[in-house]
């Protein structure tokens, strides 16, 4: 149990390994999406190129943007970039580091999509079937067809059921040729990406290690600070709400007592905690009134110090005294920044 807690803490403290897990999942999702997608080449001269290249290039773009959207740190980066300088300087190296690490992770799923598409071959076959070199692979001297006719026949290569140009160029020969080119492109693309990744990772310790350590520490710090601030604010909101509601109930019971001209009944000394928790509301009518006034007239967001009884009005009457002091506070605040 202890070890699990330690491992969990390790992963949580290490933001990098958590994000690496996310981008591994995105790469898998990308492969799954491709295999689930029902590729349907239109087999018409002009549409083939558009469809093929569209399927090759549009989903990677979507995946890239999705990589940014799903990354929680993007709002942190935007906030750090746009905040006014104030008393804390801004370090562009930190911003660059955050952006680069986010962009690197967002690139993985698109790169996987493009590689899988090229290695599979259907897209390139669909897109470039009209550009097959008929002279070398088939019979260019076939009974003359016009250019347009040839294009229409070649465009049907991916659709084996309707292909009618077997004398012009054999379907299998053309498909094998296109697929070979597609796979070669795919492997070259993967090799290029891997080499780039390797260079980026291995050149960094040789050149800017100190600057890297600094940027990494401060970007991590900004992230933690934001989380802790949110936690502190949540704690504060909780206490605020608790005191506000307590004061509401106290105000209610005091008002009711005053309205009915009853002497406040002192709770017997041995009543215990339960009586205290009732906050002075001990019958149905009073409870209903409390609920109604909670809905109709919520108390203001202003906690008064817990000493003086507030007289005849609701706790809401604490509001007017605040107004005269507010402009004073604003003026004072203005002076403090000079």
């Amino acid at each position: 149990m202890d070890k699990f807690r330690m491992i969990f803490q390790f992963f949580q403290s290490n933001q990098e390994s958590f994000m690496s897990g996310i981008c591994g999942i995105m790469a898998l999702a990308s492969t799954q999406m491709y295999s689930a997608f029902d590729f349907n080449c239109p087999c018409l001269p002009l549409y083939n190129l558009a469809y093929g290249l569209g399927i090759l290039l549009v989903p990677p773009f979507i995946l890239f943007l999705l990589g940014f959207v799903l990354n929680n740190n993007i709002s942190m980066l935007a906030e750090e970039w746009r905040r006014p300088q104030g008393q804390r300087g801004k370090d562009p190296a930190v911003l660059r580091y955050m952006f680069c690490s986010m962009a690197q992770r967002a690139m993985i799923a698109p790169a996987v999509w493009v590689s899988v598409t090229l290695l599979d071959g259907k897209c390139i076959t669909c897109a470039f079937c009209t550009s097959v070199p008929v002279e070398t692979l088939g019979n260019a001297s076939h009974p003359r067809l016009s250019q347009g006719e040839i294009q229409r026949v070649l465009a049907r290569i991916p659709c084996k059921e309707i292909y009618n140009g077997q004398e012009l160029i054999a379907n299998e020969v053309a498909v094998r040729y296109l697929r070979c080119i597609s796979q070669a492109l795919g492997w070259c693309f993967v090799l290029l990406m891997t080499t780039l990744a390797f260079l980026v990772r291995s050149l960094r310790p040789c050149f800017s290690q100190a600057a890297f350590l600094k940027s990494r520490y401060w970007s991590h710090y900004i992230d933690i600070e934001r989380k802790l601030f949110d936690e502190t604010c949540a704690e504060h909101a909780r206490s605020f709400a608790k005191v506000c509601i307590q004061q509401f109930f106290e105000g209610m019971s005091t008002d009711l007592v005053a309205a009915r001209c009853h002497l406040p009944r002192k709770a017997p000394a041995d009543a215990g905690e339960a009586a205290e928790k009732l906050l002075g509301i001990t019958d149905r009518g009073t409870m209903n009134m409390a609920l109604k006034s909670w809905h109709r007239c919520k108390p203001p967001l202003h906690l008064h110090p817990p000493a003086l009884p507030t007289g005849n009005g609701w706790a809401g009457e604490g509001q007017p005294p605040m107004h005269p002091s507010a402009p004073r506070r604003e003026t004072a605040a203005y002076y403090s920044w000079v």
Binding site: D2, M6, I7, F10, S13, N14, E79, R83, P84, G86, Q87, R88, L119, L137, E172, V173, R176, R179, C180, Q183, A184, W187, C188, V190, L191, T194, T195, F198, R201, S202, P205, C206, Q209, Y217, H220, Y221, I224, E225, L228, F229, T232, C233, H236, R238, F240, K242, V243, P300, L301, H302, L303, P305, P306, M322, S325, A326, R329, A332, A333, S336
Partner: protein, 301 residues
């Protein structure tokens, strides 16, 4: 104390076993990649050789680079190599040891790919079908030289219309596959014998230097992990203090300007502490606005 011991044990067991785990995963990924890859030989004279040899050699390079990238120790080794000497001497034996262990682990997946490719045989059949001697095979012996290259190039494609009627293509395939598998098994045997000898004979040579190098390479790895963890903890404490200072300074300012009488020690509940003197909507809004427009300086002295 117990906690530190557990952490140390975790880090110690982590380093080697994680690296071996990654190496094994890459080898499995290599086999999976090969089986899911749809090998389709172009069956054209000039393209066959390029395609076949390309499929045999390009993915191993990719797998080797992946093995280097995914191994954390390669970064550690590079940092140790490039760091300025400072007050700690650099021991080249340690760097050499780390380099050799990284290379060994990175070589496993490429070797697995090459061996699987050779044992399967499709790559070699595709690459070298055009280079066999046509006189050895009955079906190709009487064909003109111009045609024979075309025919031989089509041998890997069994469904091609020219090949369907030709019975010699099976002979050529079997011949090439036999060579391919022999090559595959030989390479496997040589590598296993080399690994066995290296591991068995290693204690006979410079065992003491080896133990030292292994200890210090482990040390460098652990030291870096602990440094990162300490930095994480430190930044957490720093952030906590910074935020407390910020709330405190807001509370001071409010005390200074609000003219409200605060009863000191009047039934101080725990909640009042958590409220930190910020008790209404305007104050909260001001705090949040200040947090964005004027973040506190990074100084908690």
């Amino acid at each position: 104390m117990d906690r530190f011991r557990m952490i140390f044990q975790y880090f110690q067991s982590n380093s080697e076993s994680v690296m071996n785990g990654i190496c094994g995963l890459l080898a499995l990924a290599s086999v999976k990649m090969y089986t899911s890859f749809d090998f389709s030989c172009p069956c054209l004279p000039q393209y066959n050789m390029a395609y076949g040899l390309g499929i045999m050699f390009v993915p191993p390079i990719i797998l080797f680079l992946c093995g280097l990238i995914l191994n954390r120790q390669s970064l550690v080794m590079l940092e140790e190599w490039r760091r300025p000497q400072g007050r700690r001497k650099k021991d080249l034996a340690v760097i050499r040891y780390m380099c050799s262990s990284i290379m060994q682990r990175a070589m496993v997946a490429p070797v697995v790919w090459i061996v699987v490719t050779l044992l399967d045989g499709k790559c070699l059949i595709c690459a070298f079908s055009g280079s066999v001697d046509p006189d050895k095979f009955v079906g190709f012996a009487n064909v003109s030289t111009a045609q024979v290259q075309q025919l031989l190039a089509k041998v890997p494609c069994k469904d091609d219309e020219l090949m369907r009627n030709n019975t010699s293509h099976k002979a050529v395939s079997r011949y090439l596959r036999c060579w391919s598998q022999a090559l595959g098994w030989s390479i496997l045997l040589i590598l296993i014998i080399a690994a066995f000898l290296a591991r068995w004979l290693r204690p006979c040579f410079s065992q003491a230097t080896l133990l030292q190098a292994r200890h210090w390479s482990n040390y460098i790895d652990i030291e870096q992990k602990i440094f990162e963890e300490t930095c994480c903890e430190h930044s957490r404490l720093f952030a906590h203090k910074c935020i407390l200072h910020f709330f405190e300074s807001m509370r001071q300012e409010i005390k200074l300007h609000s003219f409200a009488l605060l009863r000191e020690g009047e039934g101080a509940k725990g909640e009042e502490d958590l409220l930190r003197g910020i008790t209404d909507q305007d104050q909260v809004n001001k705090l949040l606005k200040m947090w964005y427009y004027e973040k506190p300086p990074l100084d908690v002295s």
